[in-house]
Amino acid sequence: MPYSSLLFILYFLPITAGVYYLLRFSQRFQNVWLLLASFIFYAWSKPVHIIFLLVSIAANYCLGLVIVRRQQKEVSAKPVLTAACVFNLVLLFIYNYLSPLAAGIGSFFSLDTTAVTSILAPLGIVLITMHVISYLVDIYRQDVKMDTNPVNFALYISFFPLLLGGPILQYGDVVRQIGHRKTMWGDFSQGVCRFVVGLGKIVLIADAMGLIADHVFSLSAMSGSLTSVPAALTWVGLIAFTLQIYHTLSGYTDIALGLGRMFGFRYRENFNYPYIALSITDFWSRWYTSLLSWFHNYVLDPLTVRNSSHDRLVRNMFLMWMLIGLMFGGGWTFLLWGILNAALLVFERVTEFDDLSISRIVRRIYVLVFMMLGWVLFRTADLYQLSVFVGNFIGANGNGFFSDTAFMIIREYWIVFLAGIVFSTPAAPKLRMLLISKNNGWTRIYTVIYPLLMGAMLLLILIFLVRSGYDPFLNDNLL
């Protein structure tokens, strides 16, 4: 059930929030209710996958208890932790990576691998695995005391605002909130606004940009004998994807933070206008920060021993980034994307890039060029498509430069491109700060205008959602 579906907005969310606030008298009941709602949310797309979730919750809860008990008896819990991590990673591998691997092997050796490739990954399996590993490691390290209430643990794993995207949690950050949190009206109202902003990013910007990017990348994938994709069109497609990926991921973050806030949870910020970064290092301190923080905490730190050599640090950095790449998908292009980022970060550290006297504009262009190059790796399905897209991009495939289609796309979607670019920068919060910094007439106007603008955006979201799913002949098959 996507957050940007009418079913979620019109039925699931109002019922979940309504009952949640009716149960104000007991946080336990509230948590049980949120857990039940999360199970329904999880099972909605494929009911049978709830079994995976329940098994994962039960197994990891017990493994956590075993770790704590062994530590209480002063017996090493490391073998249990290792076994638990392996168990979760094997599950992740089976569901997420076995299928593309089997497909590759099958096509190479002409084998029928349908039984394996037809395995569908359960919803949010990557995020769930990361949350579980954080829980196991945090209690093993005794960074935080385990909450032995199974409902609270199950809610940590399966809370619906975090299942489709948003920040990656670390157990230590949220364990206390699950059992002891206060939901104030201010939290709720901020959460509502954040949720609507996230929806707006996804429905009004990311979906449209995604549509354009999909067409261009698909055309590029089949280009050659069937069709030719001029360079200008690939540029437009790449810009569209650059805007799509930012507004999708930051939109999901806004939704997760907003929904969490509505139910009293506070999560860390995840995005801070990364496309205005002045270096790749700066970019990664603004883009999906919870991801990097998680990998630093649970991958890089354990690999780094005291007095590690530079070579070892560089090796660990590459290893971590390759894993980050593989987290997003099982293809070679994701691996290359990880390697590219590691190489850029190492390059910046070696050259002390931040201290070089380079103008801000040049720095921003450098960041955008390399990040967009990275997005090509991220978006293309395989190395062949990558080579075709890059060839098209620089006009090396005899594909020409000018494209009527590219100009047509800009003509039809200029307003979305413009909104996508403007809202990738801190222009809106700066304008808001300007309006409210001095307590004058503008501030009062802002107080009136803001709810109206948000209401208009919500209406616009509803209109676009209805248009995308509208079936005027739901009652009658007229074709």
């Binding site: 449209a208 009527d404 107080t447 009136v448 803001y450 676009f464 248009r467 005027p472 739901l474 009658d476």
Partner: protein, 396 residues
């Protein structure tokens, strides 16, 4: 900061009040639709099917959707857009709508479908029943449609060409409506509605007349020796001016699509039929003259004028001609393009069976044709419907 919080509070209150009212009203008004769709699910449907149905209905139909679509359409007009819904629909220079398509049209699948039609023909021929394939027109007319060159035009004529080529190679007879209309007295702008995928009722009448001619010349089947049924003067015509928005118009919204004129044609001579059809697993029977039996007045009333002929697409329907039992017994395997055409044929036939394979995949066409002796079989599709779900018959 207080001002920010106050502004957020105002919006949160607005959000709660509006979403609560809207959600409750929406649920109450959609409940009958949920119940009706639930009843339509086959017996023993699993949880997956129920969830899928609830999901589909909840996301496809909400309170005030026509107004929201209308507003969306107005926004598209405001921004002078020539496409709607992410290139789902594109607009031509003369207001005609078409589907958008960025990709090359592939025709490889047509050979298999032509082969299936030929197997169907072979089976019926062995029982002395000929078969003709009728190719309906595409939305895009290579000679007359006019779109801005940069729009992603969906020209499916290549599918028609390939299908007819393979049918010819399998020696299956066909009627190409593109040629029929080109040779007719109709102006090209009257071939199809701007807002709909269908050909106009007038165009359908031209194809009906050409079919009668073909049966007479090619098969010695004289259905209209006196040129009575093909004479347009024997039909009454009702014009619905600027009041028809077809499939494309309703999806994109009328500010974007505009309106079409609709010419409703019905016989001006005596007719009497019994019309049976199955819809949503319920069987209906209507008896009366052409207007009473074959025209669904609820569609006329709600603006779905084209679907008023034979109630649009239903999985199965049968027309008994109460005034003549001497005519042939016909079978149509078709999409909705054929509905006016079949209606015009009905006074000349004793009985017409109509099957729309895509509307009911469980209906076994091979078993069905074994149970009846037909005098003639017609397979009719528009090129966009030359797809697997329309040709799941005689697969081996």
């Amino acid at each position: 900061m207080n001002f920010t919080r106050r502004a957020q509070s105002f919006f949160a209150i607005l959000f709660i009040v509006m979403s609560a009212i809207f959600s409750i009203l929406n649920f109450i008004t959609r409940l009958p639709l949920f119940q009706s769709k639930l009843r339509q699910l086959p017996e023993g449907s699993g949880l997956n099917n129920v969830v899928g149905m609830v999901d589909y209905v909840a996301n496809s139909s909400i309170l005030g959707e026509e107004k929201l679509i209308y507003t969306h359409s107005q926004l598209e007009v405001l921004f002078r857009k020539k496409e709607s819904g992410g290139f789902e629909i594109i607009k031509g220079n003369n207001g005609e709508l078409g589907y958008g398509n960025f990709y090359p049209i592939l025709t490889g699948h047509t050979e298999e479908y032509a082969l299936r039609v030929s197997r169907f023909r072979d089976y019926e021929s062995s029982r002395g029943c000929p078969l003709i394939f009728i190719n309906a027109i595409d939305l895009y007319d290579r000679e007359n449609s006019s779109y801005a060159a940069d729009l992603p035009i969906n020209d499916q004529n290549a599918i028609s060409d390939a299908m007819l080529f393979y049918l010819q190679s399998y020696d299956v007879d066909y009627l190409d409506s593109r040629k029929v209309l080109k040779d007719s007295a109709l102006q090209p702008e009257a071939y199809r509605y701007n807002t709909d995928i269908h050909w106009t009722v007038e165009a359908s009448f031209q194809v009906f007349a050409a079919l009668i001619e073909k049966l007479s010349l090619g098969y010695d089947l004289e259905l209209d020796p006196d040129y009575f049924y093909r004479n347009p003067d024997n039909y009454s015509k009702t014009a619905y001016l600027q009041s028809y928005a077809g499939i494309l118009g309703q999806r994109s919204g009328t500010p974007f699509s505009g309106w079409d004129d609709f010419l409703f044609i019905e016989p001006d001579f005596q007719t009497r039929f019994t019309f049976e059809y199955r819809k949503d697993n319920i069987d209906y029977t209507v008896t009366g003259d052409f207007n009473e039996a074959l025209i669904n007045h609820s569609y006329l009333d709600n603006g779905n004028l084209y679907a008023s002929y034979l109630s649009g697409q239903t999985p199965w329907k049968r027309i008994y001609n109460e005034l003549s039992q001497d005519g042939p017994r016909l079978l149509f395997v078709c999409d909705t393009f054929a509905m006016p055409l079949i209606s015009f044929l009905a006074p000349m036939a004793s009985e017409i069976h109509v099957i729309c394979p895509s509307a009911d995949r469980t209906l076994d066409l091979e078993e069905y044709v074994m149970a009846f002796d037909f005098d003639f079989v017609f397979v009719e599709y528009y090129p966009g419907n030359i797809t697997e779900d329309r040709f799941h018959f005689f697969t081996e």
